[in-house]
């Protein structure tokens, strides 16, 4: 059985459209999105229509909670004044351009979900199993901590997003965490494509339910899309030039201060 997981859409409806098509070409049976539908990009209502049309099962991110409940900020968890300034510009734009019905839809999304496919239990969340806006960076998340986070869910596989960078690790206790990446913006690697994740679960999983990842295969998939059209529309909507630059260069220009040094070193800024 094949499942596709999207993370952080950030209003990038062009990448979402490309990812849904790509997943269908690869015979994906179920589509999931782990939240943060809005932010950063233009026309936030468009991704919501696409998600509903394609029957993507959605988890609520911190952004969706904020927009759905019309909170004063995005709860992104940034600590730097410049990052917070850009986050606020993006948030104010997204809030004022999300229609009432879509706000209600975002508001009612579940904050997590547990599914079982072919005997493999999976826990879906946005940041971490314990907190929607917790950053789980690859280089600052110990094995022991992952085990502690995953254990209460009883799952063998936990999937999240929120940081913008995809990664996966199997702990010594044979539990696996997957950060499925984001479709909203590139992975700070100088390439313009964005990422989603395929999970294949073998028909009869070898491991006992909830334990281990036997029979599970995880693949990160790059998605090409019309990024020039997106950056043009961002400029047309008056969104910051820094955002358009990230879309066109593949390098982050904002939200850098929360990166651990290891992830930060891989970038340009």
């Amino acid at each position: 059985m094949r499942l596709a997981f999207f993370g952080g859409l950030y209003s990038n409806y062009l990448a979402l459209e490309a990812a849904i098509s790509d997943a269908r070409r690869r015979d994906v049976q179920e589509l999931y999105c782990l939240g943060d539908m809005g932010a950063f990009g233009p026309y936030p209502d468009r991704v919501v229509s696409m998600l509903r049309e394609a029957e993507v099962f959605c988890i609520q991110g911190n952004y969706d909670d904020s927009i759905g409940n019309e909170l004063p900020d995005c709860q992104c968890g940034y600590t730097d004044p410049r990052d917070n300034l850009f986050a606020q510009i993006s948030y104010d734009y997204t809030l004022s351009n999300t229609n009432r019905e879509n706000r209600r839809w975002l508001q009612q999304l579940p904050v997590s979900s547990d599914i079982e496919r072919n005997g493999v239990r999976m826990h879906l969340c946005h940041g971490s199993p314990r907190r929607t806006n917790e950053f789980l960076w690859e280089s600052t998340t110990s094995d022991a901590f992952l085990d502690r986070l995953i254990e209460p869910s009883g799952a063998g596989l936990v999937l999240g997003t929120h940081t913008g960078l995809h990664w996966t690790r199997t702990t010594r206790s044979d539990r696996r965490f997957v950060n499925v990446g984001v479709l909203g913006r590139p992975a700070n690697d100088g390439a313009t494509h964005v990422w989603y994740t395929l999970v294949d679960v073998a028909e009869r999983s070898a491991g006992p339910v909830g334990q281990g990842e036997s029979g599970v295969r995880v693949e990160f998939v790059p998605v090409e899309y019309d990024f020039r059209r997106l950056s043009g529309e961002m400029r047309g909507e008056g969104l910051p030039e820094e955002f358009a630059e990230t879309i066109e260069t593949g390098w982050w220009t904002t939200c850098l201060e929360v990166l651990p040094s290891r992830e930060r070193r891989r970038g340009r800024c």
Partner: protein
């Protein structure tokens, strides 16, 4: 006086090692635990005791480790300690960068590259020039710290520069801007800056007026407050004199919670003036990447005037 607030340990996310005790090569006038070359009220931790705590920390699901002092690099076993810790999880060392050596940094960068985890260097510099920094940290310390920054950058480290706010509240942006310019001239063109509020205890209490008797976190103030903001809800500090609630309150007997991590797994009463500063600013000790809580800046009204100004975490 109103009943004091109480914080449970929700889980051990960060484990701190008071690895150099209160021994430091500098004698900063604002040091909240009065570290100096002569203050041996807390001594060095041994490699053996660090290893023991690291092993114990795995069962508790610790996310990351912090090494502090005093000046951690005074402990001759610090490098092997950090090499060891990186086998368990991410580590951060808080240094004044005035005693760093090439060979240590070479070993530490190699240890970081061998595994999946980050090694962060947090460098304390209290102003963008000697005129601001040296009166607090000592004559010549600005130039020595800048040489330390150059050494770190030369080894591919992106240091986090922390500064205690000793300037007027409204001048943060000017000071940070100047810091960026100055650090760039020392090769540090991607500075990660963190402003810390002053803690009015230790040497700082002698320098200024300290906290008033009413500067306390009451039980009522904890209603609706996200206690994850307080490191005492998710951290403990290992010292050579037992396990303390946090790295700030070492001079407070009630902050020693036991001899072992297990004994220290209990609630803490926020009965100290410094608790108010943590309450107000939130997670002042952890790195930005390790923080996860509601965005409180601008939402919390200061419960008391501590003179520290608007919130920057």
């Amino acid at each position: 006086m109103a009943e004091a607030g109480r914080v449970e340990l929700s889980g051990l996310d960060e484990l701190w090692f008071q690895v150099a005790g209160t021994l430091c090569n500098l004698t900063c006038t604002h040091c909240f635990i009065s570290c100096s070359p002569h203050n041996d009220s807390f001594g060095f931790l041994s490699l053996e005791s660090v290893e023991e705590a690291l092993t114990e920390s795995v069962a508790r699901g610790v996310r990351e480790y912090y090494f502090t002092g005093g000046e951690p690099f005074l402990n001759p076993e610090l490098v092997p300690m950090l090499e060891l810790a990186l086998g368990y999880g991410p580590a951060t060392v808080l240094t004044n960068a005035t005693v760093l050596k090439d060979e240590w940094l070479e070993r530490l960068r190699a240890a970081e590259e061998r595994g999946p985890y980050s090694l962060e260097f947090r460098v304390s510099i209290d102003g963008p020039d000697a005129a601001t920094n040296d009166p607090i940290r000592g004559t010549g310390t600005f130039d020595r710290a800048m040489r330390g920054v150059e050494l770190l950058v030369g080894h591919g480290v992106l240091p986090i520069i922390t500064m205690t706010r000793t300037w007027p509240d409204g001048e943060d942006q000017r000071v940070l801007g100047r810091f960026r310019e100055v650090l760039a001239t020392h090769g540090c063109d991607r500075p990660r800056l963190k402003v810390l509020p002053r803690l009015l205890i230790g040497a700082e209490a002698e320098r200024t007026c300290g906290y008033g008797e009413t500067d306390r976190v009451s039980a009522q103030m904890m209603h609706g407050y996200d206690s994850d903001q307080l490191i005492c809800s998710h951290s403990r500090t290992v010292t050579d004199r037992g396990v303390f609630v946090c790295p700030i309150l070492l001079d407070e007997p009630s902050a020693r919670l036991g001899a072992t991590l297990e004994e220290a797994d209990r609630s803490f009463v926020l009965q100290h003036g410094a608790c108010v500063t943590c309450y107000q600013y939130g997670a002042i000790c952890t790195n930005p990447s390790g923080q996860a809580f509601e965005q409180m800046v601008g939402r919390i009204e200061g419960p008391v005037g501590d003179g520290a100004g608007e919130g920057v975490r």
